[in-house]
Amino acid sequence: MASLLGDAPRLLNVGVSGFADAPSAAGASVLQVEWRPPAQGDRGLGLILAALEDDADDPLGARTAAANAEAMRRLLQARPVLEDVRPAREIIQALQDRTLLHSGPPIEWSQMCGPMQGAIIGAIVLEQWATSPDEARALASQGQVGFVPCHHVGAVGPMAGVVSPTMPVVVVRNAAGSNVAFANLNEGLGKVLRFGAFDASVLDRLRWMGAVLAPALSRALHAMDALDLKTLTGQALQMGDEGHNRNVAATALFTRAIAPSIVRTSPPEDAVAVLEFLASNNHFFLNLSMAACKVGLDAASGIDGSTLVTAMARNGVEFGIRLSGTRDAWFTAPSTVPDGLYFAGYGPADANPDLGDSAITETAGIGGFAMAAAPAIVRFVGGEPADALDATREMQRITFARNPDYALPPLNFVGSPTGIDARRVVDSGTAPVINTGIAHREAGVGQIGAGIARAPLACFEAALRGLAGRGDGGGGV
């Protein structure tokens, strides 16, 4: 008999589950779609979403598919190489006059959260634009200092993410393209600038990092083979790291790789101090990981019509995302307090809303998306090891690809879900999951817990409207 449905018919059932019964009984294979209204019930946005669906026979549908394919090709083929460590002002144009970088989307001083204001005060004193914290605060509130998001200059920074002109940044080059990305150096835990602390111990450490740590790393890098950060990350994912909240394996691998060159190119006291610093800082690799993710996502940015998410970042007040197809536009919504476990004596009332550029890791397919690789994370964020596997599986629903460079052993070496498709987020109502630390809302107290944050769906809805509204068509059936 001639066939309308094909030889081994496979049907999708979208809606009332009972409709699967008749065709199943007749021998067809029926896959139930657990449907719920897309776009949180907004019919108009649902129609915009439908117009963006892949369709080779339609200009908009074809362009979306082609744009996403190109964006993903660039992301997956990116090769982040750690090239150097340099003072920020030597390579970031925007830091020539009194300007500071910060994490997340743009924000004014008066709106900033406690930890970010504290970090800015510390940075102003470090740069000697003021001689005391009070003077620094006055300078900032009077508009005497410029504030630019790290993301705007190809940089990323965890937590407050404040970078000042004399602070060292790592330089990560995309060997498969030509762009570079930057990140500051990780100070360690406890009283640190990125949580808004700015006392003498904090500034002393930062000065040591600029004067001793950074040059030592720079000399070591110039005397060794190029350090491929993607390879290192891939190895770490098979050792229990996820690349955002657990970085100990990657830090250890990095230290092992660079140690001989440090010893060869630095005076012994410096070498010892640097190696001791690396040995005591389990999160040192985080900043390198972030820059590596940033360089790949930047390479995939600016492709007309692409719905790939190229940034997720928080400034402690707002959560912002960017899409490849809308390049530099931010789509923001209020940042929320993560859900997790608190250190003794602290609770949700003390918590600052989610903060930092470190969600760039999830944007590139690691961190919370690779949680299956790090079941031990549940000891810090709560839940059971099976939840870690479920989190990664859930993220498969909203991503384009399984990253061949990030194989996850607990899931039979399937590649980490990589490349967030804003369409899928809005269609399924599945928000990206982020593994994150929780900061105290007051400057300088530090980390008070760790947990899971969800990117606000409103950001992705706004992003699709923004993409559709660029005269690209969209809207209507």
Partner: protein, 508 residues
Amino acid sequence: MQLRPTEVVQAVVLPNTYRDSVELMRLAAELEHRPGVRRAGLMLATQAGRAVLDEAGLLTTDVEAAQPGPNDLIVAVAGEPSAVGAALGEAKAQLAGSAASTSTGAQRGEPPPRTIAEALSVAPDASLAIISTPGAYASAETAKALKRGLHVFLFSDNVPLEDEVELKALARRKGRLLMGPDCGTAILDGIPIGFANAVRRGRIGIVAASGTGLQQVAVLIDRDGEGVSQAIGVGGRDLDARVGGAMMLAAIDRLGADPDTHVLVLLSKPPAPEVAERVLGAARATGKPVVVNFLGEHRLQRDAGVVRVVTLEDAAVWAVAVARGDAAPPAPVLAPALLADAAQASARLRARQTRVEGLYSGGTLCKEATLLLTERGIPHRLLDLGDDEFTVGRPHPMIDMRLRSEYIVQAAHDSSVGVLLLDVVLGYGSHPDPAGELCVAIEVARRAADEHLVVIASVCGTPSDPQGLATQIDKLRAARVIVAPTNAQAARLAAVVLESNVREEVRA
């Protein structure tokens, strides 16, 4: 609903808890069965949902105050306080449990897909999507499915006409079928979809803008020993002027090119005239014999390979004859045994019982019966209980017999009603035992009318249907229902039963 002094109403809001309407109504019915529970309602907090709960006296002020949104679920129960609390607990437990996947083909440990795009990454070889989401969202889902190259069976109604026009244009561009909106039935490659009967595969192709019309013709073809190659539903509005018969034309093209389809049967309510011409022209152009039933034709017309018939039964009978290369089939007549039953029944009626009360689950069957009774001048009220006004917050009468049972019992108290006319539709998707359920109400009605009530039914089904055709007919006969072989004959029989009473009344 008047509450007793000891009774209370309690409601909870479950945030972000979407379940389909069928599941919610089933759960409500279950809760209402519990002792001490007076009424239960589970609805999404859309405007419409809140209105339904309000109507039922189940919308509490604390739920209103919580300002639930359209993705939040309101569970409300009225009754004795202890029973209400337990019922709410039971509802929450069942809803939590029903979040688990029941899908076939899902990989172990993988959550079930939530979108068509996700489903296609799991099953890239899928060829058709069955869509039964609420109407407001059906257009977007249909567009996505068509763009990804799937055929679509669209059961949802309340889809805007402009959307239907655009979606059918999209379907034509993609070379795919969009069956619907408001399509209840299809049988593709022998696979039943929606409300469909188990019929033999064979050489007759059916294209229908009507669900129960398709079902009636298909089961009669099967009864007479022929079979169906493809039965393609196109949705109730397809032959309207604006839609222009888009899908019927596409289906005619397909069946025209299908070597296994030897005869085309086209079914619809009367199309816009220019659409009828286009459709008939396309059908003729296939070079295959065509049998057409546009409901409301008054006489048989034959014209160069196209036969236009009066009833659905005629369509089936002609299709079978043409498929076999037989000469024109004799017009169906009421069998002598049936006429004898009618005469006996007629004798039981009182003089003032002059009208038919029809209670239908199939819209087309209802319309057909209405036309036949009108033609014969028999007073009647035929209700299509599947119509929107009856199905808000209620399951469709093909699935649930309660509303019809209520109307059946009521009819017995109306002294002008002489004949109760029913359709019993079997097949996949329908109630597992419609005859059994209806007979309970029929017996009650009969007693209430002191046996002065004639009940006539036709059963639309096949021996292979889950309910079993013979079993269903036996149950009806045991309740002394006169069972006619087709809907058209049932209507004509009703006319025969009431003829003399009607004539007497006219004379008087």
